[in-house]
């Protein structure tokens, strides 16, 4: 049995009340579906005295596709976003990625905001308290030494959120709320700028702040994104390779702009612009060159399970397969 430590549970009845409690410090955590936080509290990799349950807050709910920026409440369950017919039409790569997060039970509870704020993962941290202590701890827990990069100065646990690479290539932003003089103040930041290289605190959301919504700009004509995930099992597993490719084509089918986002490297996902291929047709040569570029620029670490050199090679293949969906009708698209 894995029990939760004793906790204070506050059921927030207003956004102001939630933000007030969250401003007390790192020992107060926001709770949505609980599918990440509860597990991390149980294994002791996250320490908290209080959790603020956000379920009832209407500010965190709703999917609005009427404007140029589609607004998805951070508290929307993954299943509801993934199965939303309008979003499937507008952003099939996003709904495809969300439908592949974990398992049906976790998508029934977990939320989009929760996936964006997913804690970093590492084979040396996602273990029992006893296991971590017995091996002397690491930068993120119990100790002072990194076992992924011996002698390394910073935690390099991986961001394994399936939603993030897709939202990055879609140019999505997040809305973050905080209190100032008793009033709710909102700021916006690009998902591409949301993450830091410090695996101990990789989400750039300060104490007292709360991610309230995700804003996704509608795609212009000729633009499409594809998400590719590789994990050992098709269900439950976090991605071991996670990449999204977006290509915007002009009327002649030539590349107008493009980008590739890659997750499960370190704490910060990588965004690679494809500017040097602008004006080129989308063909096997371009696919091979882009895949080679991604291979050169990305170095998966031995921080999650599976051989990191294989994951690097596999990343090249997944990028290749993603781009082939543009010119091979039989290639699986999403």
């Amino acid at each position: 049995m894995l029990r939760l430590p004793e906790l204070e549970v506050v059921i927030a009845d207003s956004l102001v009340a939630a933000l007030t409690r969250l401003a007390e410090g790192r020992h107060v955590r926001a709770l949505q579906g609980g599918t990440d936080l509860v597990a991390n509290l149980k294994t002791g990799q996250t320490k908290a005295q209080t959790v603020v349950a956000l379920g009832p807050l209407s500010e965190l709910h709703g999917i609005d596709t009427s404007g140029e920026m589609v607004r998805i409440g951070a508290g929307e369950r993954l299943v509801d976003v993934a199965q939303n017919a309008e979003l499937q039409e507008l952003f099939p790569a996003l709904t495809y990625a969300l439908a592949r997060i974990a398992s049906p039970q976790i998508r029934n509870a977990g939320t989009l905001g929760g996936n964006l704020c997913l804690d970093t993962r590492c084979r040396f941290i996602n273990q029992s308290d006893l296991w971590r202590e017995a091996m002397g701890g690491c930068l993120k827990s119990h100790g002072h030494e990194c076992h992924v990069i011996p002698g390394g100065g910073g935690c390099v646990a991986a961001l394994s959120a399936d939603s993030v690479p897709v939202l990055m290539v879609l140019g999505a932003e997040v809305e973050i709320a905080r209190l100032q003089d008793g009033a709710v103040l909102l700021r916006r930041t690009r998902v591409a700028d949301l993450y830091d290289t410090d695996g101990l605190r990789h989400v750039r959301i300060a104490d007292g702040e709360l991610l309230t919504a995700v804003l996704v700009p509608k795609l212009p004509e000729g633009a499409r994104a594809v998400y590719r995930k590789w994990a050992v099992r098709q269900s439950i597993d976090f991605p071991l390779v996670s990449t999204a490719v977006r290509l915007d084509l002009d009327r002649d089918g030539k590349l107008k702009q493009g980008k590739v986002a890659v997750g499960v490297l370190g704490p910060r996902p990588r965004l690679i612009p494809l500017d040097r291929w602008v004006g080129r047709p989308i063909d096997e040569t371009l696919a091979q060159q882009v895949a080679a570029q991604v291979f050169d620029r990305c170095h998966p670490l031995p921080n999650v399970l599976y051989d990191h050199e294989y994951r690097r090679e596999r990343l090249r293949v997944e990028v290749l397969r993603a781009i082939r969906t543009w010119f091979t009708p039989t290639a699986a698209a999403n």
Partner: protein, 187 residues
């Protein structure tokens, strides 16, 4: 800005009232207790299994407001006012649920530890199937529906078969009802 933190008060057990298998129940749940702990150790409903306790195995799957969720990841105080169904609530009037019957008939359980979770995931699928316009039974979909439930004994084949047999009964019933309503329309 800092609000007082009434930790000692908040950590006392809270009265939580919810619908459990169709009946209202009230329990005094400590705030750090999960739903699986309250079900098993306060309400003595031990059908819901406590497996990995960290969201991997699906043995603790129950339905909250109809949706299969993991009782080990759900704080008990957060089911206030909601509807919870466990494996104990599956059969009606002493009769087993069609899934319980097909699991038994086809030998879809070996050690049986994963079975309650499998049944809860599958029952949500069957209920969903019954609401579709033209339902069909698809083994790939059944595998996806059961994707959050681990079984270390059976190799899944018989579990998928048992769900498929029960699902076909749902589809046949829907077709019979549709034919009957067509006949009535012609009369």
């Amino acid at each position: 800005m800092t609000a007082p933190s009434p930790n000692h008060a908040a950590r006392a057990a809270t009265l939580v009232t919810f619908q459990l298998n169709g009946e209202p129940v009230t329990v005094a749940a400590p705030p750090h207790w999960t739903l699986v702990e309250v079900l098993r150790y306060q309400l003595n409903l031990t059908g819901t299994k406590q497996g990995c306790d960290k969201g991997d195995c699906g043995a603790c799957t129950v339905r909250v407001d109809g949706a299969p969720v993991l009782a080990c990841m759900t704080l008990a105080v957060l089911v206030q006012g909601r509807s919870v169904e466990t494996v104990e609530g599956l059969g009606v009037g002493g009769e087993p649920h069609p899934l319980q019957r097909t699991f038994a008939e086809l030998g879809a359980a070996q050690c049986g530890f994963c079975t309650p979770g499998m049944l809860m995931s599958a029952s949500a699928y069957l209920d969903d199937l019954a609401t579709r316009d033209a339902p069909t039974v698809d083994a790939v979909e059944i595998s996806a529906v059961l994707g959050g439930n681990l079984c270390r004994c059976t190799g899944y084949t018989k579990i998928v078969q048992a769900v498929a047999v029960a699902a076909r009964e749902v589809v046949e019933r829907a077709q019979t009802l549709a034919e009957m309503s067509n006949d009535e329309a012609m009369l």
